[in-house]
Symmetry: C2
């Protein structure tokens, strides 16, 4: 249902373009923006413009940053010989939340996905290879998502890294802590069995 | 978890201020905006700035419009003697979707809610009274939401409208079409019984 007010219809349409925002949510958000004070909506718009202007990729690991290097690459206490390869900047945050990993990251910004027209050249693979070639790297941990695309990307990368003769590892699969065996899918359970360790 | 990139943290914080947007959604939306092309994000920002600049209240019914009058008030085939009083502009759309109502509207932009510090003076009540006083109105339909605040506002308005000696009506309560008696709450069922009609 169009509101027959072009500026409003356009605003709703722009909201709908965001991922996970359906028509009803777009309408709610558009109206909430209109009901904001001018000061509040200016702050919202400024935050977007400012972030788009300042934030770019770290020159080393391709994570998002507003400086030349991201906070992890710029930190002095991180082990630069270990690189954890993740799909998205959000994944870095998940790892950092754990507070147990002290190596560095490499953000691919996606996975190889021919279905969506994403080939290796769209990802930050060249940067990873340059990095491995030029720094003393002892291990690359593949931490792409456990999906078909994530797996394929990890396999592809491990082949590319073979000539460098460094250790390439993959995150363990298994039942999530606090999970219930009854509801675990067959593939996860089978991977969990394969990867069993001695007590 | 802060990203330690001020422009990004600020962007996420601004998203979180929107109603119904929690931290995780705010993060997702902020990243999706960053991954947009400059052209796309510019269109998004322009839509907000443009809507804030152009959209204001209709001089007659206080509905949102980009002209002097909203499309309903400007239309020639609407019955100006019937005014349907609603809380928000979205409610007008709900009515228009029905395609059965041919009168006009009056948008209060909220309800009287002392808990939230909203008194009658914050609503478009003065505009409604002026309208009733100056035009030939035969009926005012109270279509505020069936909540405590909506009820209270409808009661308050009906008292204010008493001196004008016009018909003031309220939308019917009852079980929703397609609903199940088993799950109807007591108040709705009791209202539905009260308002029963002959077959």
């Amino acid at each position: 249902m169009a509101y027959r007010v072009p500026a409003l219809d356009n605003l709703i349409e722009q909201w709908e373009r965001l991922p996970g925002i359906g028509h009803k949510t777009a309408v709610r958000l558009a109206f909430s923006l209109l009901s904001m004070s001018d000061e509040q909506s200016r702050r919202f718009v400024d935050a977007i413009v400012d972030a788009k202007k300042r934030i770019h990729e770290c020159e080393i690991c391709c994570n998002l940053t507003d400086g030349e290097q991201c906070t992890v690459c710029a930190a002095e206490n991180r082990d630069e010989s270990v690189i954890c390869v993740v799909e998205e900047p959000q994944d870095v945050i998940a790892f950092e939340r754990m507070r147990e990993y002290h190596g560095t990251y490499h953000v691919l910004h996606g996975t190889i996905s021919p279905m969506n027209g994403v080939g290796p050249e769209q990802l930050r693979i060249k940067q990873l290879l340059t990095r491995v070639a030029n720094t003393d790297v002892s291990e690359v941990i593949m931490a792409t998502n456990p999906t078909v695309e994530g797996e394929a990307t990890a396999m592809y990368l491990s082949k590319l890294l073979k000539p460098f003769e460094i250790k390439v590892t993959r995150l363990a699969y298994g039942i999530p802590v606090g999970g219930d065996l009854e509801y675990a899918d067959e593939v996860t359970l089978s991977r969990s069995l394969e990867g069993r360790s001695e007590l």
